[in-house]
């Protein structure tokens, strides 16, 4: 189900934890704890990054030469400060400048349902109306998030709202063209 937490978590997963941590390190060298705190604040959205994943990721980045570790001696246990390397910084830069692959989603599940509904003589328009209702219900939830949340919540909700709105436009266009599509499918 396309819940807010699933949606937001998909966004976070889509943006890659290692590259995000590297990006945070480019801002300034940090301890693992500070990195986790900043990650959770800006990108976690109710799904904090486990400490284990933070340190495992940092260890891999160190192994691959993307960060170096500066050990800080103290009274207690040694503290590790992570510093991004030139190689790490250029990887962050390459990631930032490269556009994401636009996914056309031409063969969506919904499209398949509509075509099959027509083939089987089922009420395609009703299915599309049901989908429209589900989309609008989700948009209402995201609008509430926007109205009650901070700027980060609002921008994340906006991302979802614009995508859902695009789907709805497709649904409207498809409803308007159902007769034509029915003729096409019947050929």
């Amino acid at each position: 189900m396309y819940t807010l937490s699933v949606y937001m978590w998909c966004m976070v997963l889509g943006m890659s934890v290692p590259l995000t941590l590297l990006g945070l390190l480019e801002r300034e060298p940090s301890h693992g704890y500070d990195l986790k705190r900043d990650y959770d604040t800006f990108f976690g959205r109710g799904k904090p990054l486990p400490f284990g994943q933070v340190y495992a990721t940092l260890a891999r980045l160190a192994r691959d030469g993307k960060v170096v570790i500066a050990v800080e001696p103290g009274d207690g246990p040694e503290r590790k400060r992570y510093v991004i390397t030139e190689s790490g910084a250029s990887e962050v830069n390459a990631w930032l400048v490269e556009p994401l692959a636009p996914e056309p989603h031409l063969q969506t599940v919904l499209f398949a349902k509509v075509v099959l509904a027509i083939m089987l003589g089922r009420p395609a328009e009703e299915y599309l109306d049901t989908q429209r209702r589900a989309h609008l219900a989700r948009m209402r939830e995201l609008t509430e998030v926007k109205r009650g949340g901070n700027l980060v919540d609002a921008l994340l909700a906006d991302h979802g709202l614009f995508h859902l709105e695009a789907d709805l436009r497709w649904i409207d266009t498809t409803v308007a063209r159902l007769d034509a599509l029915t003729k096409e499918v019947a050929r």
Binding site: D129, R133, L136, R140, L161, D172, A176
Partner: protein, 225 residues
Amino acid sequence: MIEARAVTLSFGETPALRGADLRVAEGEILAVMGPSGSGKSTLLHCLAGILVPDSGEIHFAGQRVDTLDEGARSALRRDRFGFVFQFGQLVPELTAVENVALPLLLAGTRRRAAITEASAWFARLDLDGLQQRRSGELSGGQAQRVALARGLVSRPQVLFADEPTGSLDSLTGEHVMDLLVGSAREQGTTVVVVTHEARVAAYADREVIVRDGKVTSLDAEPVRS
């Protein structure tokens, strides 16, 4: 609160409504959606007593509206309903605060009291300092918020809004909707908003779709009663 029963209406030979049914509960915010020319604005005008259906019935608070004469419908619109249209439709000769005060003045409130009451809306809708401007000196978003204040100033039981953000950019439109929904909820006003924008409809409690002059939504019953 307000109901259309099997309403039909044609403009000449062209049918606009072909048996539209709709119920809106008290305090509900309802979005009426549909493609251009589907009859959604005509339905709103029938519900508001602006147009009289060829057949079918309109009821408001237990009272039949479509059988009232023009004078009674006019009084109903003035005393119980508020309106916001796509382009604000402010009176250009009047200042912003006079525009907001207009429904109160028409209802017989004394000028000083009407202006005082109208002025209170300016802070509420982020319009402070614009009271003396005329419509030509306001941005689109400001003019629409003035129109919203005018629609709500007499504390109507129902606010009818026809594409209230249709002439605004996305962010300004959201600001207007945020204020519209917030103010309506605060004073318990029922809202019927016609829109083709899903992002506007998402501010409502429920949406119905008008297609070919009929309400075709699966969600035709009010969420409140």
